[in-house]
């Protein structure tokens, strides 16, 4: 396995000068850090030249304190039984990335999701704006500086009578002036 890993590292480094590797994992995993402009070409190379045919996952992590978004592409070789992580960092203020759905069609779905949830713009991505969210005008919700509770309390109003943890039936009686029916009394707190 180690021999195979070394061979892969050598080939990648010979073809992509900006790729830095992390080979500290004692199992079948390899990590490469690249510039965002290199991502499509390294993925294309891994798929077509080195047999990493299967796109296992694409994920995005928000490093708020560092002002960066990290995109990680995980590819798997069914022949060599190795997974390779290709990482790149994007500027959080203006995250723009090349579209890779011509390499793997399924990347299209991930890109649509990240556009919506992290605000990453993929150049050349042809897809309708709405994917999971509908008529969304807030900030990208999966970013670390989006606070779900704050957004909900600012956007939606509290149902009257639910400000405290009181019995909702008593509140209804208070507001409507109606008597609580006998059969419901035994359930009342």
């Amino acid at each position: 396995m180690d021999e195979l890993k070394t061979k892969i590292i050598e080939r990648i480094k010979a073809n992509f000068q900006d790729a830095t590797e992390n080979n500290s994992f004692n199992y079948n995993r390899l990590d490469f850090n690249v510039n965002k402009t290199t991502v499509p070409s390294i993925l294309f190379y891994l798929k077509d030249e080195m047999g990493f045919k299967h796109l296992s996952h694409i994920t995005c992590v928000d490093w708020l304190e560092e002002g960066e978004l990290e995109l990680i592409f995980i590819v798997w070789s069914p022949v060599d039984k190795i997974k390779v992580f290709v990482r790149t960092r994007l500027d959080r203020e203006n995250p723009v990335m090349d579209n890779i759905d011509m390499i793997w069609r399924q990347a299209h779905t991930y890109e649509r999701e990240f556009r919506e949830m992290f605000g990453i713009q993929f150049t050349g991505l042809e897809a309708p704006q709405d994917f999971l969210l509908e008529d969304w005008d807030g900030p990208p919700p999966m970013r670390r500086d989006f606070h779900t509770e704050e957004y909900a309390s600012e956007t939606f109003f509290e149902r009257p009578g639910r400000e405290d943890a009181g019995d909702v039936r008593e509140e209804i009686i208070k507001r409507s002036g109606e008597e609580i029916p006998d059969f419901a009394k035994k359930y009342s707190r």
């Binding site: 399924q106 779905t109 919700p141």
Partner: protein
């Protein structure tokens, strides 16, 4: 020029009459959950299909960023209701990978038992769903009834029938109750007899054969590239299984086969699943035979103060629907920086389904969806 424009408009009008838009879902008995497939049909042939999601998003991944490493388990099992255990196992293993925590051998065997029981339970639901989509309802009544015997086992072992939260970092929550092994073996004996009945009812049925053969074909040469995984990929004649290719827990110590079938249609996928049920029973018997005694849990520190080193990990599990994976990233704190779930339906339910449905008959949409194992909660987490 004017004449040409009028002619063009007439043609367009005629085309418009020919094509109809059908909305399959989000509430439709033929759909596999809360999603919609927008179909453009000419006659009863589909010319375009678009998957529409957004009915189910519960922000699980966002919520997990506010919880400690252990509290995520109550959310994880809800990613896909029919088979929650592979998600729990993936997460637990990702945490263990990141922390470098050892898991006792006995716990690994118990985890395999859980995963295979979950696989059987999920296949029992698939029997019902696949046949129900073709109007054959007896099968579902049999198999869902038999699934209860598996749920009984889950209940005895974990306390829950559907959601278990039993596999956690460091091992499993509790050991086998007294006499549990015998009960598992008895259930396996019963199920082994029943799958023969299933074969008579399902695979020897002319309606099932005619409705599934040659329908929803995935080309073998494109399958891996398109992101097809699990039984669907094996139904294209490609031998691929994470349990063998990227072994986890103790699968490398167990003897089982990876069934494949040629054709890439619904029938081939059904043949693969038929064999996998038998292989799961075989694995469970081996687990009961080989399970060592000893600890079942390597205790974790106080969960409120439990920190994981900075870094990330990705663990994959072979579930009924295919590859299930959990990516976790840690900033060195008591809570995850990011948890990202990967389910087979994320690919099968969108890009693959949209591709496969073109040229198929409207009546086959539901059968194709069931054969791909599309599970909408996996698309919207």
């Amino acid at each position: 020029m004017k004449k040409y424009l009028i002619l063009q408009k007439n043609i367009q009008d005629k085309m418009r009459e020919k094509a109809t838009t059908l909305y399959l879902g989000p509430q439709h008995p033929g759909i596999t959950g809360n999603m919609m497939v927008r179909l453009k049909v000419e006659g009863d042939t589909i010319v375009k299909a678009t998957t529409e999601v957004g009915y189910l998003h519960r922000a699980f991944e966002k919520l997990q960023e506010k919880r400690n490493w252990l509290q995520s388990f109550t959310l994880l099992c809800r990613f896909c209701v029919p088979e929650p255990d592979p998600v729990e196992e993936s997460y637990a293993r990702a945490v263990e990978l990141l922390e470098g925590r050892e898991v006792p051998e006995r716990a690994k065997y118990i985890r395999v038992l859980m995963l295979e029981l979950a696989r059987l339970g999920s296949y029992m639901l698939w029997y019902g769903g696949q046949n129900g989509s073709l109007g054959l309802y007896t099968m579902g009544q049999w198999s869902v009834g038999d699934r209860n015997y598996i749920l009984d086992l889950f209940e005895e072992l974990t306390g829950g029938r559907i959601y278990h939260m039993y596999i956690w970092p460091g091992g499993v929550r509790r050991d086998f109750p007294e006499g549990f092994e015998d009960k598992v073996l008895r259930t396996m004996d019963y199920l082994e007899k029943r799958v023969k009945d299933y074969d008579d009812l399902m695979f020897d049925n002319a309606i099932f054969q005619k409705r599934t053969q040659g329908v929803g074909i995935i080309p073998k040469e494109k399958a891996v590239e398109w992101g097809v995984v699990g039984p669907v990929l094996r139904g294209c004649g490609i031998r691929s299984d994470i349990r063998i290719d990227d072994p986890y827990e103790v699968y490398d110590k167990l003897d089982f086969e990876v069934p494949t079938a040629e054709g890439g249609d619904i029938w081939a996928r059904a043949l693969v699943r038929r064999q996998e049920v038998r292989q799961s029973i075989k694995i469970i018997r081996q687990v009961i035979e080989k399970i060592p005694s000893g600890d079942y849990y390597n205790p974790i520190p106080n969960p409120q103060k439990w920190t994981l080193p900075k870094g990330d990990a990705y663990a994959r599990t072979e579930a009924v629907r295919g590859e299930v994976g959990i990516f976790i990233a840690s900033d060195g704190g008591t809570k995850p920086r990011r948890v990202h779930f990967r389910g087979a339906a994320y690919v099968h339910g969108i890009t693959l389904l949209e591709n496969l449905l073109v040229g198929e008959n409207v009546a086959d949409v539901s059968a194709i969806m069931n054969s791909l194992g599309t599970c909408p909660p996996e698309i919207e987490r």
